[in-house]
């Protein structure tokens, strides 16, 4: 037997590579490896035969044989990767999902739209240093009206149709009522703390009122109050302007007009330019063609209200404001009937 020649090594390599080229599954690849590179494999056999060559040939053949081995091993590795990759790709095709099928349902909890908008409102004022306080929904006439400069028999009482609570006061003749606004907390907060005061009061309110698409007898209000030395109407404008921008967008414009609430002087209401028609006001259902939408009442705290809680009206000034979160939500979300809020129809609630 003679040892391998460079030609025979080369032929073996060519044959092996030719076979390798045609293999496309891992099992056959392994068979190929055993056939050529295994302990009894063709190449291994050839390399063993080198030992029979004379010294001069042995050297050259040895180098050739090692190169051939390295070459086959490298090509095998490449082929293994190619085959694995091809197999993976086939699996991907096989396992393809219909991604349009719905996912596995998981219960969806939501907060009531009023809760959501209240949080948005409170956050906006919170960022300006206002803290949340809450008060009783059942109030005395004293706090709901008298401390707000609305004494018994005052014609302005007609502005708040009241649900009275059936209650006989044994001594003081006090009247109990469902609060008509959250403003009573103005007096309660100021009575129990010294200036500076900067609070907002979210909560439920009640009125003796027929309901329609824009009126509810049960609704929420957010009252705000800031009192300190040096607070001005200009600050009121700035605060409410900032609020309007936070809720309705940076480019919102605001407008103030004279309005009347007995517990402020001067009193105003604030409108924002209509976001539905960009203030154009032609044929617009949201702003009823005016280009402006009233969103809240406000004003400088009346000196009688300050004096009533023992604050010196010469020293302290402040502003108060009140807004209806349902109205804000209706504007933001295009809700056309306030009665939807508390009728608990899930088809409504699930939209928020």
């Amino acid at each position: 037997m003679t040892g391998p020649t460079p030609q025979s090594i080369d032929e073996l390599v060519q044959t092996a590579l030719g076979e390798l080229e045609g293999i496309d599954d891992p099992e056959s690849l392994d068979q190929w490896r055993v056939a050529y590179l295994g302990r009894r494999g063709h190449l291994t056999q050839v390399l063993r035969g080198i030992a029979q060559l004379d010294v001069a040939q042995r050297r050259e053949a040895g180098a050739l044989g090692n190169r051939a081995k390295g070459n086959l091993e490298e090509r095998l590795e490449q082929r293994v990767q190619q085959v694995n990759q091809a197999q993976l790709e086939q699996a991907f095709v096989r396992d393809q999902l219909d991604v349009t099928l719905p996912g596995r349902p998981s219960p969806i909890g939501r907060l009531h739209p009023t809760t959501q908008i209240l949080r948005e409102i409170c956050d906006a004022f919170g960022a300006m240093g206002f803290s949340i306080v809450e008060g009783p929904e059942v109030e005395w006439d004293h706090y709901n009206f008298e401390m707000l400069n609305i004494p018994q028999g005052h014609p302005a009482r007609d502005m708040w149709n009241t649900l009275w609570v059936d209650y006989q006061d044994p001594s003081a003749g006090r009247s109990m009522l469902m609060r008509t606004h959250t403003s009573p907390m103005q007096a309660r907060v100021m009575e129990s703390s010294q200036p500076p005061v900067r609070v907002i009061v979210p909560g439920k309110c009640y009125r003796y009122e027929a309901t329609d698409a824009t009126h509810e007898w049960h609704f929420y209000q957010v009252e705000g109050l800031a009192v300190d030395e040096g607070i001005t109407f200009a600050d009121l404008k700035g605060t409410l302007y900032e609020f309007a921008r936070r809720l309705f967008g940076e480019e919102r414009r605001v407008r103030f007009r004279c309005d009347y609430f007995p517990f402020v002087e001067p009193g105003v209401d604030m409108s924002i330019d209509c976001f539905a028609c960009n203030g154009e006001g032609t044929g617009c259902r949201i702003c009823r063609d005016s280009g402006w939408i009233e969103i809240m009442g406000a004003g400088m705290v009346h000196p009688k209200v300050l004096a009533g809680v023992g604050y010196d009206p010469e020293r302290y000034t402040g502003f108060a404001f009140g807004l209806g979160p349902e109205r804000i939500a209706m504007l933001k979300y295009g809700i056309d009937d306030i009665r939807l809020f508390y009728s608990n129809d899930l088809r409504f609630l699930r939209q928020f």
């Binding site: 719905p102 306080v133 014609p155 900067r198 300190d228 001005t232 404008k237 302007y241």
Partner: protein, 812 residues
């Protein structure tokens, strides 16, 4: 309040378009709700019928020759009331009018009617859009100027004001005129009030005394004798009609006119019906009655102020007159009253008799005393003018409580302090003067202030009753100057420290936790009905709930003492739209009445689960997935919520009238009752008409929850660095041992870090009267890795405890 511009122009020039005027008024606090225009009759003129002849071809039609100003034209007219000499509304060919046949506005064409050419039309109310009447043509007053465009003669614009209760003054045209003058920098011409007096002085003809001057600080009166009652002249009728009032007769019309002009309600008595020519203003006597002008007999009480003659009431002062002294066609002498009545008493009377009249609308807001004689003279003048007669010399003026001139001051410093800007005092003076404030005196202005005016003292005009303090003047200034002039600044004072209340925080956390657990928030009306309480077996023993004294309906008359009924009602209402899953919660207050105090308002949460556990899904197609939400779903939600709050609850079987016996647990933590969870009693489900079964409900008191949280902040427990060893433990216990009890024994055992129940079984291979509970138990130490031997020793100890305490044994 309706303000026709035609009337407004009597006192002030309107120099800007009506829409612009409406805008300025609105911005200044006089809200114009609507601007109603009548007119737009191009091609229509005041015409005169020169003669009327029969139509040769039709009995019902007439041929009329009309002077239309620049030309004479012949028209065919079908109206029965057309007559020679009438001033009429004439539409020339080309005018756009309402076609009464098509109902559309169309251009008037020349037409042949039954063979005769008609070169225009004499119009009815309907065709002009003035009213509904189409039975005849509109006949204009005899003094209507022929040839005048009809728009100029009949067209008008009416501002419909929506006034705030403080702006009483704008219930009058002159009041509005003063606003207009200030807003457009024009001036007001007030009507003159002169008239000729003759004969003896009024004091010799009538005696007037005011007994209860606290309710009537000023009473003025005049006497006009020898008048004739009849319809008012056209101009007066027009004024009233356009302002929305119905003309009655010349005397009554004048009192209404002056009320709308000056704001002062007046009353006219038939003087001959006033016994002994004597008027006494006093409180009613016990048992007195009066038939009022509306024909209703009224039982008066002693707080009602009456105008009486020598014997009996002839009117309720400032509210309504009496039928016994009413002006009628036969009246020849009028005693005219213009008085100031006390506001609160007037309002009380109006409310208790349900008589909110035009008069009380004004008196209840407090009219100024100075107004009474001004209005009296104006009305006297007009009655004399339109009804003739002689005016007695002088007026009666009983004024026991004269009010001093109302003076108010404002300083530049205060303006700055409130508005946050400097306001030029000259501008302030100009604004106040334009609104009618007078006798303006400068304050400061001496050498110490370099001649600058520091402040102004002004006298408030008689028509304003809303200005009493400096801040009122600040508003007057800023509302005329405009709010845009005020700068926009952010609060620059320090933010006061205030911690959000713990209940406010807890409410937010609980809501978030429930929503995170898949629950939908609902909000119901906190006023409920008796039936609602009965439906949920609300126990009567807790004391009667608070009620609304004037409920709008029986559905909402009780301040809810429990939150249980509302979410059940919400579930019932929603079942019609689908079969679930329903996961609802409501968090709100319940009201617990207290002696001599406001009720306790307790934040409470109720959550309920009903319907399918799983939404319909292609992934849930096995029948098992049609299972309904049940008690343990509610407990799962509860566990999730309480875990987020850091509360470790305990449950024990409980009885509650809302729940099915045997399916209700009391929830407690740290020794406090937090609430209940259970499956709603079938009877109650039925009362709400619920289809779903079961309905699981949980109720938590947030007061108790807050208390159970304790003051301590949550503390971190370090996580063990050593591995845990786990063992599965299958126990057999008597059937009546609650699983919770077994778990409690396991978890409190030394080295046990966690125990999860993963199987419950009773039946084959388990002795009757027992059940098998399988727990997955983790053992772990904070100090070291536990050896198998340690774990086994601990497990043996645990098994002994279980056997001793609940008779548990390892399942064979």
């Amino acid at each position: 309040m309706k303000v026709p511009l035609s009337w407004l122009r009597q006192y002030v020039d309107v120099v800007i378009p009506a829409q612009e005027l409406a805008h300025r008024l609105t911005m200044a606090g006089i809200e114009v709700g609507d601007v109603v225009e009548t007119g737009g009759w191009s091609g229509c003129y005041v015409g005169q019928v020169l003669d009327v002849r029969p139509h040769p071809q039709a009995d019902r039609l007439r041929l009329c020759r009309v002077n239309a100003g620049t030309q004479e034209l012949e028209v065919v007219c079908g109206a029965p009331n057309v007559a020679t000499g009438q001033k009429i509304c004439f539409a020339t060919v080309g005018a756009r009018l309402l076609d009464t046949h098509s109902g559309k506005h169309e251009t008037l064409k020349a037409a042949r009617i039954r063979g005769v050419e008609s070169q225009g039309m004499i119009c009815s109310e309907l065709e002009l859009g003035l009213g509904e009447d189409h039975s005849g043509i509109v006949v204009l007053p005899a003094d209507a100027p022929v040839g005048t465009p009809l728009d100029d003669y009949l067209g008008d614009t009416v501002l419909d004001l929506e006034l705030t209760p403080n702006r009483l003054d704008c219930l009058s045209i002159l009041g509005v005129a003063h606003e207009v003058a200030a807003l457009t920098q024009t001036t007001v011409t007030e009507p003159d009030v002169d008239y000729r007096e003759e004969g003896p002085p009024i004091e010799s003809l009538v005696s007037i005394s005011v007994t209860d001057s606290d309710l009537c600080p000023r009473y003025t009166a005049s006497l006009i004798q020898g008048i004739s009652i009849g319809p008012s002249p056209q101009w007066l009728q027009d004024r009233l009609t356009r302002a929305g009032l119905r003309p009655i007769n010349n005397v009554v019309d004048v009192t209404n006119f002056v009320m709308l002009e000056l704001n002062q309600p007046l009353h006219s008595f038939d003087f001959d019906k006033i016994r002994d020519a004597t008027v006494v203003v006093r409180r009613a006597r016990p048992g007195e009655t009066l038939v009022t002008l509306d024909g209703v007999p009224r039982n008066l009480n002693t707080e009602v102020l009456v105008i009486a003659d020598a014997n009996d009431p002839v009117g309720m002062g400032g509210v309504i007159g009496g039928a016994n002294s009413e002006i009628g066609p036969e009246t020849t002498s009028v005693l005219l009253e213009s008085a100031t009545f006390e506001a609160y008493n007037n309002r009380d009377t109006a409310q208790s008799f349900q008589l909110r009249t035009e008069a009380t609308l004004r008196f209840e807001k407090g009219l100024r005393q100075e107004l009474a004689p001004i209005a009296l003279r104006r009305a006297t003048q007009l009655i004399h003018q339109v009804a003739g007669g002689k005016v007695a010399r002088g007026i009666i003026d009983v004024n026991h409580q004269p009010a001093p001139a109302l003076k108010v001051s404002v300083t530049g410093q205060r303006l700055k302090k409130i508005l946050g800007m400097d306001v030029d005092m000259e501008r302030v003076e100009q604004v106040l003067a334009s609104l009618g404030f007078h006798d303006i005196r400068h304050q400061g202005g001496g050498p110490e202030s370099n001649g600058a005016v520091a402040g102004l003292e002004v006298t408030v005009p008689y028509w304003r009753n809303d200005i009493t303090i400096e801040e009122d003047l600040v508003e007057e200034v800023v509302r005329i100057v405009g709010y845009d002039a005020v700068p926009t600044t952010m609060l620059s004072t320090p933010i006061p420290y205030r911690q959000v209340g713990p209940m406010t925080q807890l409410v937010a956390k609980v809501k978030d936790a429930l929503a995170a657990a898949g629950m939908q928030e609902v909000i119901s009306y906190p006023l409920v009905s008796q039936a609602d309480l009965e439906k949920v077996n609300h126990p009567e023993g807790d004391g009667p709930p608070l009620r609304v004294a004037n409920p709008m309906s029986a559905d909402h008359e009780i301040l809810r003492p429990t939150l249980r009924s509302s979410p059940l009602a919400a579930l019932a209402a929603n079942e019609g739209h689908g079969e679930g899953p329903f996961r609802l919660f409501e968090l709100g207050r319940v009201f617990i009445s207290r002696e001599n105090d406001l009720p306790l308002e307790r934040e409470t949460v109720v959550a309920l689960l009903a319907g399918r556990r799983l939404d319909y899904s292609w992934l849930h197609s096995s029948p098992m997935n049609d299972e309904a939400l049940d008690f343990y779903d509610a407990k799962g939600v509860l566990a999730a919520v309480l875990a987020r709050l850091g509360v470790e609850p305990e449950y024990r079987p409980a009885e509650d009238p809302l729940f099915q016996p045997g399916k209700c647990a009391q929830i407690s933590a740290n020794g406090l009752d937090l609430g209940v969870v259970g499956e709603v009693h079938p009877d109650i489900r039925q009362r709400f008409g619920l289809n779903a079964a079961p309905v699981s409900l949980l109720e938590l008191s947030l007061d108790s929850l807050l208390e159970s949280l304790g003051p301590a902040e949550r503390k971190f427990k370090s996580i063990s660095r050593y591995p845990a060893a786990s063992r599965d433990l299958a126990l057999v216990v008597p059937q009546d041992v609650p699983a919770g009890r077994v778990r409690e024994i396991i978890t409190r055992h030394r080295m046990v870090q966690q125990a999860d129940l993963f199987d419950i079984y009773s039946g084959e291979n388990v002795a009757p009267g027992t059940k098998s509970l399988a727990f997955h138990v983790n053992f772990q130490s904070q100090e070291r890795t536990l050896t198998a031997e340690e774990v086994n020793r601990s497990l043996e100890g645990l098994l002994k405890s279980l056997e001793r305490e609940v008779g548990a044994s390892l399942r064979a």
